[in-house]
Symmetry: C2
């Protein structure tokens, strides 16, 4: 049975998908590229081994940090503005045990404020989103990929013209787990957390995220708020602040699309709604696969 392999090899996880006749029939998971050091090829060989026992795949395409300087084989950054063809042609290609293997390029840009930026892996999701929703390929759109390092991309007629990274998820985790502001005694009260999130969103509208941080603590000491409230407040303040700042930076167009896992996309949708912006939603996994050329049936 002829088959192809597509995969996303990020810092913390390798995910491989086996495609037969436009259908994903199997998947395998391996270690992140950030953990394998100089043993990247061995880790890849071990993860894919049960499949190549049937013979080599027709081809292999991998996106993500696998192409970083300290990944497996360094792939360049394609430069914005870039459409999907430009991005695909910038991949590094070589023969791997009889199969043509492509390590996809990253993407680089320089913002209107002269700050350069980079991504590796998210561009596959963005081009995948455009493939899944052809309306995104016409006109001007903001595509948001929330996460540890959120990416905001401005897409114009199918080309990524500019983007910005905001390390909101990383900042939230640091404040929650390692700061004097993150409550250590949260109980998981979703109602309190939600009320705090809304209050953080409202505060974010002031555009003063640094001077609003300490309220996570002072509102507990002086205004009777709970630990769960404080967690929600920090999340709302940071996500709301990310949105306020990024919308000022990237002039959007016909709409905003959220790409990612459901829980986080929910928070962003709520935060965008609080600023009067309705967002479309697309599944992050489906977009990643579509970016690597797969738009068929996901059977496994």
């Amino acid at each position: 049975m002829p088959y192809r392999v597509i995969g996303d090899w990020g810092t913390s996880r390798l995910r491989l998908f086996r495609v037969e006749y436009d259908c994903i029939v199997a998947r395998r998971v391996g270690p992140g590229i950030g953990t394998v050091g100089s043993e990247a090829e061995a880790a890849f060989a071990q993860t894919i081994a049960p499949w190549v026992a049937d013979g080599p795949p027709q081809d292999i395409a991998l996106c993500g940090m696998v192409g970083a300087r300290d990944g497996w084989v360094e792939a360049p950054y394609a430069t914005c503005p870039a459409d999907r063809d430009i991005w695909r042609s910038a991949a590094v290609r070589f023969d791997w045990n009889g199969a043509p293997l492509a390590i996809m390029a990253g993407l680089a840009c320089i913002g209107d404020d002269d700050i350069p930026d980079v991504m590796r892996g998210e561009e596959a999701q963005i081009f995948g989103a455009i493939a899944l929703d052809p309306a995104l390929g016409r006109g001007r759109h903001l595509i948001i990929l929330p996460g540890t390092h959120s990416k905001w991309a401005l897409v114009d007629d199918g080309r990524i013209v500019n983007f910005r990274t905001v390390p909101t998820g990383e900042l939230f985790a640091l404040l929650r787990d390692r700061s004097t502001l993150g409550p250590k005694d949260a109980t998981g009260d979703a109602g309190q957390e939600s009320a705090g999130f809304d209050e953080g969103l409202a505060r974010a509208g002031d555009g003063r995220p640094l001077t609003s941080l300490f309220a996570a603590r002072s509102m507990r000491l002086r205004a009777g708020r709970s630990a769960d409230w404080a967690l929600g407040y920090l999340s709302g303040l940071l996500i709301g602040g990310e949105i306020v700042e990024t919308r000022a930076l990237l002039s959007g167009g016909d709409g905003v699309t959220l790409v990612g896992d459901a829980g986080l996309a929910d928070r962003y949708a709520r935060a965008l709604d609080a600023q009067g912006v309705a967002a479309r939603r697309l599944d992050g996994d489906a977009c990643a696969l579509a970016g690597l050329g797969f738009t068929g049936e996901i059977a496994a």
Copy 2:
């Protein structure tokens, strides 16, 4: 020889000063109130022991987190607007082994944006600054105490009318030591660090601290900046951002005064200068002692 004891018992350190005839003749250091748990009195007794061997002091005054809920004895918060007399009269006083002991109050306020705030210990420095520089007791002044949790206080005719905490130092330490943005390979190149600091300050003027953070990494990847530059950039971005936001929040008056240790005050003076604000400087230790009633000679 009759003597008095004044001290600052903060989270991480207890500092005691022995005063004889308006002269500091000795000092002792003990564990922070954050580390002694329920053994606060024993830790205090042990630190002061060599002095009380001569007999009890005439009186003892302690400021700082010693008066927090989980300190030694809880002292209230005096409410802004508060002058020094209001603050002093809010202290908790009791007899300790034959000596009258005062644990000074903290200070609480509610900002114009309805965010409450608190301090414990810094108010002694602020009232001390006013005692050392009588010009600060007339008219309207901003007094800044840079640190892990920076405090900005608006003083009007000697009363603290409002203040705001900004956890800039804590945020910087988290980003430097625990984030993917903090370079792990800085070499201590002061010129590079200084250039990064200035670039961070300039960027802070955009008022978008969250979307400017990732440049600490992307400028290294794409614009040839060094690890030392990145450390300076993060510091300049956060300190500059603190100043931009806080000046928008607290309408200053006749001048800005920096109270604190020389190195950090230098950075803040440079950041204020970049925004066209000249700052006076006062020594943090001298202000703390003056706030506790001591303005004499520091001989030890």
